[in-house]
Symmetry: C2
Subunit: 299 residues, 2 copies
């Protein structure tokens, strides 16, 4: 079973969120009606030895590991077009780590939290037999008219991506990436996205989720996808995880204006495909099926 | 450093929650102004081998382990006088566990979530090298006039407790306890508590937290504390953790009415002490200091 299927089954067995949850689970965040805004909320976690290296020359510094935990969550807020506001943090650490290491882990979170104006409103600390696992619940806000979901892409919309893809592990990008809050917020404020999500599990796999949620197919032009390094292959750009870039669907008649107005010279915004009518599937420009091969947590 | 001190330092280094957080971190939940209500939020976690036994005759069933995770969080909502509404769940499991075990772990959560009307609005699933760690963020609601905090106990107030104390591990209470949502809500609706919190780390330690937050001392009558079993000693009742009962401070002129009106015949509500003017400290009826010896997660 995939993680998607696992959670779909799980959510179906629980009491349904009431109607104040205007975005139910299944997007990067759920959203709760909150005065004249939406409260965004999501949870994500990192596990030592899974999301960062514990040993060897690539071992993550504690600051980098902590930073990654918050950064992954900020990326989920970015994908909704929102502004992060606060977080809750549960950390569980084993005998491998002394208090100084744990302190530095939190230092990494704090530095990024300051940069993004994120307060901390709850926490729990526990010990484990061996492993280290930390989860963070992120809160944010967004206007109901601006919230970006996965399910709004329409046939004819263009798929654009921020930044670069592939080789995230090899380059350390998975630890140092800047969450695209600025870019996601700008896109939402200007009303461009018909759908948006972040890419954490690989471009093809996450694009397939937009297709499924929106009920559309996608024609993708693999060579158009910006690659992180000269050595990054197209396959890596499509399949590696941990890019933490944004997938953005935009109506075709707005593309020229968007590309002309895009204000972030340091971050490319690149058209890479087009949504089409049809069952959720991805093919290249010659019609050859592209199978999602990204990272799924139960696969 | 204690967990309390650790988080106090951590929170101080982060951007402060804005004024919409009418209850900042430090209570059982934080609370965010939300229309004419408060949104309650807290996070708690369980770790296999720490919060439940992994091996031997006392090994927890997966359902019991999952149940405990949600129940601990419901207890935090109960302590605020609130009504639980929704949760987010991050689970990380190691190679010891097969998908069937994980499914049963979630079954335990689901059964209790149904009983308490709790929806699930977010989740993440990860694998670990070895351990199992699951964290749950709980959301709830409460009226601003009804929210119960730790900092409202005044000299002269009586300390009451729900239920029974001690021997939680030996009896399995730590897995099967009923979160006191019904009792906490009734107390809040009727405006009795000047302060309330749940007891998870031992009666003395948690009572000392009410004292510190409220700036009062406490005279406690140890023999008055209801004990879980005939074999439970007073020391166990005061020091064992995992009771998940409520500590309630109530003005003395309301005690008679409260005890007469208490509608829950199956759960005793017992006066066990009196708050006094003075620095935060606990003594028995003869003035002998009672030192908090409960479970602290960094001690």
């Amino acid at each position: 079973m995939t993680e998607d299927a696992f959670f779909a089954r799980l959510f179906a067995r629980l009491p349904a969120p009431d109607s104040s949850w205007v975005v139910p689970p299944g997007d990067d965040c759920a959203a709760l009606a909150f005065g004249d805004e939406l409260l965004l909320i999501a949870v994500d976690q990192i596990v030592g030895g899974k999301h960062y290296y514990l040993y060897g020359p690539e071992a993550a510094s504690p600051e980098a590991a902590g930073r990654k935990l918050l950064a992954r969550n900020l990326s989920d807020i970015a994908a909704m077009g929102g502004i992060p506001t606060a977080c809750l943090l549960a950390g569980a650490f084993g005998p491998r780590r002394d208090p100084a290491w744990i302190e530095r882990f939190y230092d990494g979170i704090i530095a990024l939290a300051r940069d993004y104006g994120v307060a901390m409103v709850g926490g729990d600390l526990a010990s484990t037999p061996a492993d280290e696992v930390a989860s963070l619940t992120i809160l944010g806000r967004v206007e109901p008219a601006r919230v970006c979901r996965r399910n709004g892409a329409r046939a004819g919309d263009v798929l654009l991506v921020t930044g670069w893809f592939g080789s995230s592990l090899e380059t350390g990008h998975h630890l140092t990436f800047p969450p695209r809050c600025r870019e996601g917020r700008w896109l939402a404020e200007h009303g461009y996205p018909t759908a948006m999500m972040d890419v954490s599990d690989g471009l093809l796999l996450d694009a397939s989720r937009v297709c499924r949620a929106s009920g559309v197919a996608l024609r993708l032009d693999p060579p158009a996808v910006p690659r992180r390094t000269p050595a990054t292959t197209i396959a890596q750009a499509l399949g590696d995880g941990e890019d933490y870039e944004l997938l953005v669907a935009v109506a075709p008649d707005r593309i020229a204006a968007l590309l002309a107005a895009w204000p972030f010279a340091d971050v490319p915004l690149t058209p890479v495909g087009e949504f089409l009518a049809g069952p959720p599937a991805i093919a290249d420009s010659q019609g050859k099926p592209l199978t999602a091969c990204g990272y799924d947590h139960l696969a």
